[in-house]
């Protein structure tokens, strides 16, 4: 079976507006990726290539060296990389052995270009989350 298990992705809030079919389409684009405890998964300021969903393990989000959040199973990060490959806005460091599924920008873009609906739904969901985050 290729890609990430559909059940894993359906739990991810970012994809909550997608139909099961649409999730399946995206799911097969994901690839498993593992990080060792202590590894830097994403480096603040570096160009971004992939979006990740955590299946197991824990990671910390750091902005300018300050701990902001802890991420666990079903959390995701790096979603902006799906839209533009500009600099990462935070550093993500694995605090335990981490198993993720990752989706690269290269793989995501053709799907969205072929099916605008998926892209639109994701954008809407992201905009909503940004608004909520600003109100925190």
């Amino acid at each position: 079976m290729r890609g990430a298990p559909v059940e894993v992705l359906r739990r991810v809030p970012l994809f909550s507006d997608l139909t099961k079919r649409e999730v399946q389409q995206i799911a097969r684009l994901f690839k498993e990726r593992r990080f060792a405890a202590g590894e830097t998964v994403v480096q603040e300021g570096s160009g971004g290539a992939a979006f990740f969903v955590i299946v197991s393990g824990e990671a910390t989000v750091l902005i300018r060296g300050k701990k902001k959040k802890i991420l666990k199973a079903d959390d995701y990060f790096g979603e902006i990389a799906l839209i533009d490959d500009g600099p990462r806005m935070a550093t993500i460091a694995a605090t335990s052995d981490l198993v993720c599924y990752g989706l690269t920008y290269w793989d995501f873009r053709p799907v969205v270009e072929a099916n605008g609906v998926i892209g639109w739904k994701l954008l809407q969901r992201m905009a909503k989350m940004l608004r909520e985050a600003r109100e925190d």
Binding site: G38, E39, T40, Q43, E44, G45, S46, G47, L62, R64, G65, T91, A93
Partner: protein, 545 residues
């Protein structure tokens, strides 16, 4: 020497006929006026003497300062003297003349020097009247000149047997000088005198828990040393004896512009800690290594190998001693006296800062102490600023017409052998020993061209990447693929290990940023945040300011 103002370009003209080569190794920055007045004569006298006494085909070396930068010239021996020199060279090898000199050093020159140092050292310059201080400065200068001459006089003794050994054994085995010099280890440490004081210091501290404790605190290092000095039951005396021996030695360089050890108690404390904690270097494996090299020597040369090793090991200690017990100490004593003069003049408002006084020549120092108007406070400040803001990089590498390369093949065997020994020694031996003086410059491989100045950032691991800021100089052990994400931020790369074909060298070249790799100790010697200059053309990294 006429220093010019900041913006004007310096003009360089040969200081006389002949071929002059810049010496940026010993003098990376311009020298003080005092130094340019005292050094050349002593240097020429000393080198001329060793050249003649060893039957060399040169009449020693000449030294001159242009815009404060040091230029050296080889003075050829007068033709009429050549037959005498050839004969002398033969005698040198037959009689092993360096042994005589080694004896002279240990029995006469070194003890006499130490006596003279201690005499001058026992005077507290701050307690002298202006007239007495002026006289003291003159005595210190005369002593310094004599010590500079002494240093050069013993150069051949320090270097000919080693160079001779490297030349022959290098040919027979193909082993590089660095490995062959390793066979010199375990020869008697500096001198019986020095190791006695250090040995006693180590013993005293190890036996005295109060001393150990005091040494380990992170207090102000100056107070730590004072506290150690004041301990009773013999500990304080041992500390004082050691500090009296090493305290006025320059830590770095030769000119009076460089600090002596007591001015940097932090360095002294670190040295003492290291000595107390350190294990005695195990010299027993040297015998094995010598045997190992001997096995590589063709059988017919082995008897000569044994002889060469013995001679080289015998005089090896002279290499460092001849400087440390001569001018390195005398220069520190001069500086101490000069600073005392500077302090009183600064207190009167006659000069802007005490340390500017090192930029006066001796006659000027005496004049200022008796109330003269010249040089002005601004003039001295300007000279100080000049030295700090210029470096040997701005000076041409050579002036005058180079002579044709010497043809050693036509020479009588002994003469050729002497010239070759000195040649190799200047390359391998001088390079490695004098480089130890350059506390602020590191050498490595010139991996990627260009020069860049910026703040150093010590980063060893991706978890530290956050600390990198645009324009920083990466200083690290070695780089891996993970470091590539930093590349857009970097002004230059400096590594401990790696060669020209390693990852860090290749990416530095591709990114077009200066790179120096294989420095061995950049991460140890460059502090985080220090301003550094990375010269990827010369393979040098200098810690500025």
């Amino acid at each position: 020497m006429t220093p010019t103002g900041g913006g004007t370009k310096l003009r360089f003209e040969p200081p006389g006929p002949g071929f002059w080569e810049l010496d940026p190794v010993h003098f990376p920055r311009p020298a003080t006026r005092y130094w340019t007045e005292v050094h050349p004569g002593a240097f020429q006298r000393g080198t001329s003497e060793f050249a003649r006494s060893y039957g060399m085909l040169i009449d020693g070396l000449g030294m001159a300062y242009v815009n404060g930068f040091a230029y050296r010239m080889v003075r050829p021996a007068p033709e009429g003297e050549l037959p005498e020199r050839f004969k002398r060279a033969e005698e040198v090898f037959q009689k092993k003349y360096w042994r005589q000199q080694f004896r002279d050093w240990n029995e006469t020159f070194k003890p006499a020097s130490m006596k003279a140092h201690r005499e001058l050292q026992s005077v507290d310059p701050d307690g002298l009247s202006d007239d007495a201080l002026a006289a003291h400065l003159t005595r210190c200068r005369d002593h310094h000149a004599e010590m500079l001459y002494q240093h050069m006089r013993f150069t051949a003794a320090a270097v000919v047997p080693t160079g001779d050994f490297l030349a022959h054994v290098g040919d027979w085995t193909g082993l590089p000088p660095a490995e062959l010099l390793g066979l010199m280890r375990g020869t008697s440490p500096t001198s019986a005198g020095a190791s006695a004081q250090l040995g006693q210091l180590i013993a005293a501290i190890r036996q005295d828990p109060r001393a150990q404790q005091r040494l380990d605190t992170e207090d102000d290092p100056g107070s730590t040393l004072e506290a150690l000095r004041s301990l009773d039951r013999g500990t304080g005396a041992a500390v004082s004896a050691y500090l009296d021996l090493v305290g006025y030695r320059l830590l770095d360089g030769f000119d009076i512009s460089n600090p002596f050890a007591l001015e940097q108690p932090d360095a002294l404390r670190r040295a003492i800690r290291a000595a107390v904690a350190g294990k005695v270097a195990d010299a027993s494996d040297v015998e094995g290594r010598i045997a190992g090299v001997r096995a590589k020597v063709p059988e017919k040369h082995r008897a000569q190998f044994d002889e060469l090793v013995e001679e080289a090991r015998l005089t090896y200690s002279l290499r460092d001693e001849r400087g440390v017990f001569s001018d390195i100490w005398a220069s520190g004593l001069m500086r101490r006296a000069v600073l005392a003069g500077g302090r009183r003049l600064a207190a009167k408002g006659r000069i802007h800062e005490a340390v500017h006084f090192v930029d006066a020549g001796l006659d000027e120092m005496r004049a200022l102490l008796s109330g003269a108007d010249e040089p002005s406070a601004d003039e001295l400040a300007k000279r100080c600023e000049y030295r700090a803001s210029h470096s040997a990089k701005e000076a041409p590498a050579a002036m005058g017409t180079p002579p044709p390369p010497p043809d050693l093949s036509g020479l009588p065997p002994a003469a050729g052998r002497i010239m070759r020994a000195i040649g190799i020694a200047l390359g391998a031996v001088f390079g490695s020993s004098e480089a130890a003086h350059e506390k602020h410059m590191l050498r490595g491989l010139a991996a990627s061209r260009g020069v860049y100045e910026g703040p150093a950032r010590r980063v060893s691991h991706p978890s530290e990447f956050d600390r990198m800021v645009k324009g920083d100089v990466l200083v690290t052990e070695s780089t891996t693929e993970a470091f590539n994400i930093l590349l857009p931020l970097l002004g230059a790369i400096v590594t401990d290990s790696g060669g020209l074909l390693s990852h860090s060298a290749i990416v530095a070249r591709e990114y077009g940023i200066p790179g120096v790799v294989g420095t061995r100790e950049a991460t140890e010697r460059i502090k985080d945040g220090a301003r550094v200059r990375v010269d990827g053309d010369a393979g040098e990294v200098t810690v500025l300011g």
